[in-house]
Amino acid sequence: MVAIDPTLLTNILLIGLSGTLICLAVHFIPVGGAPAAMAQATGIGTGTVELAAGSGLVGLITAAYMYTNVENAPMALILAAGAVGSMVMLASTMFSGGLIYAYGVAVPFASAQVKKDPITGDRQDTYISKGTQGQGLPTICFVSGIVGAALGGIGGALIYYVLVGIYGQLISATSAAAVAGVFTLGVFYVNAVVPSYGVGGTIEGVHDPKFRRVVGKDIFTSFFVSILCGLLAVLIAGGISP
């Protein structure tokens, strides 16, 4: 057993933390699953996993590009770049989705989980169409989604930042980016799917009662699994070194 190096331990913990951030992100993004695509439930009409992945990976691209362009970039700048890329993707998606709900299906936005929107204070329950669980993206869902996207972007960028730092010392820059990128993808998917099982495929965002019910155990699971992934990632570096 090698002596535990503090840098090593920090790196493992950072990867564990980023996995947890991705898990948390899934809870913040308002996803209504298939019913939402039929204006039958509040939220974005797609699956939790793919939306978190879609936005988080755009964040990964922007973060990685920032990393290549700024020499000795501070960690905060990379993470912010990831968060912005991810937020822009989700914001434009939700905005265009809102256009369809508003002018294609012609339904007002309403949440079924709260009576009044916590941000704007608008009545919600009277605007819910008959036989549905709400529809569209009220402001609270939109803001919650943006927060979630930011967390997902930061999470993805953080793993990449840590890993590319480790592998960059051992192999060429191209290989380091490829290996770190693929590993990030792997960790991202594991941490996006696990909480999706926890929330059962749909969640309205931070105001949903489900959020408080499931967030604790999902985060516990994600943290444990990500720490394990972090351990494996750091050990890979030991294998790469010639």
Partner: protein, 300 residues
């Protein structure tokens, strides 16, 4: 990196345009085959006794199937580029391969899903298979071409650290996620259920009761594209165009600094405000569904 501002803005504009086309075509392709979330209703319909002539393209979720076709396109393009092909030729051939593979998966999913619904007596229509699949391949080809072209520009010209297949895959996942959250609502929320009252969500009791008759004859998947091309497709295109454009625009103009991050956040805030304006507009225009209950509570 060595580009001046005008040139990098031109490239950014080109990427935005390619992304807009890709987003639009992605959504229309998913509507031709009836993929992703609205597909749950097509799948449910025979169980409710509503047999239909609509394609059932259950390859997987949209992000996954589009990621697949894009990554195949990217891989084949990489192989051809290594053989010193002209880039445009390489991208076209690569995109074509991706589209063909997607078409093969589309046929197996239609046949497989219908064969698994034997007890509801849903027939497998071979003519639907024959003329819908080429349409799927055609739409997907254009999407692949645009995405692989974006990946090529980012890798070769802008110097992104990831390879062409990697970037193509991520944009494929992204376009699928956007297409299923934006364009599919127009198909699932409106086109599949045009027989119910306009201006309401789908009542759960109506699930599976999809419209099966077209303006003339029986409705098939090609009729659905005709409708969704008017709003759902373009809106999806705008979403992906905005994503590609605004995720690079701040850094192109303001450099790789905190200022660019601030501008990015500002863009997001503007989008939040615009969404709020739409919400207010719609609430005023359509009004609440339950007037009386509202008044009663107001009196009490």
């Amino acid at each position: 990196m060595v580009l001046d501002l005008t040139m990098s803005m031109a490239i950014l504009a080109l990427m935005g345009a390619l992304a807009t086309i890709a987003g639009c075509l992605e959504d229309l392709e998913s509507d031709v085959g009836s993929q992703s979330n609205p597909n749950s209703q097509v799948q449910l319909a025979p169980q409710m006794g509503f047999l239909h002539r609509i394609f059932n393209k259950a390859i997987s979720g949209e992000p996954i199937s589009n990621g697949m076709s894009a990554v195949i396109g990217g891989t084949v393009t990489t192989v051809l580029l290594s053989q010193k092909f002209y880039p445009l030729t390489a991208i076209v051939i690569g995109a074509f391969f991706g589209a063909i593979i997607l078409g093969i998966f589309a046929t197996t999913s239609y046949a497989g899903r219908v064969a698994s619904q034997t007890r509801f007596k849903q027939p497998l229509y071979m003519d639907i298979m024959r003329y819908t699949t080429p349409s799927i391949i055609g739409h997907n080809f254009i999407m692949n071409f645009c995405l692989v072209a974006i990946a090529y520009i980012q890798f070769e010209i802008l110097g992104y650290p990831f390879t062409i297949p990697f970037l193509a895959l991520i944009w494929g996942i992204s376009v699928g996620a956007i297409g299923s959250s934006v364009g599919d609502v127009h198909y699932g929320g409106e086109r599949e259920f045009q027989n119910r009252e306009f201006g309401c969500g789908l009542n759960t009791a109506l699930s599976g009761r999809i419209v099966r008759k077209a303006e003339s004859g029986l409705r098939n998947s090609i009729d659905n594209v005709w409708f969704c091309a008017k709003f759902g497709g373009p809106a999806t295109g705008i979403a992906l165009g905005l994503t590609v454009f605004f995720s690079s625009w701040p850094t192109t103009i303001f450099g790789y600094t905190w200022k660019a991050i601030g501008v990015g956040v500002l863009i997001v805030v503007v989008l939040i405000i615009m969404n709020r304006l739409i919400e207010l507009n719609v609430r005023h225009a359509y009004g609440p569904y339950k007037e009386e209950k509202n008044e009663k509570e107001a009196k009490a």
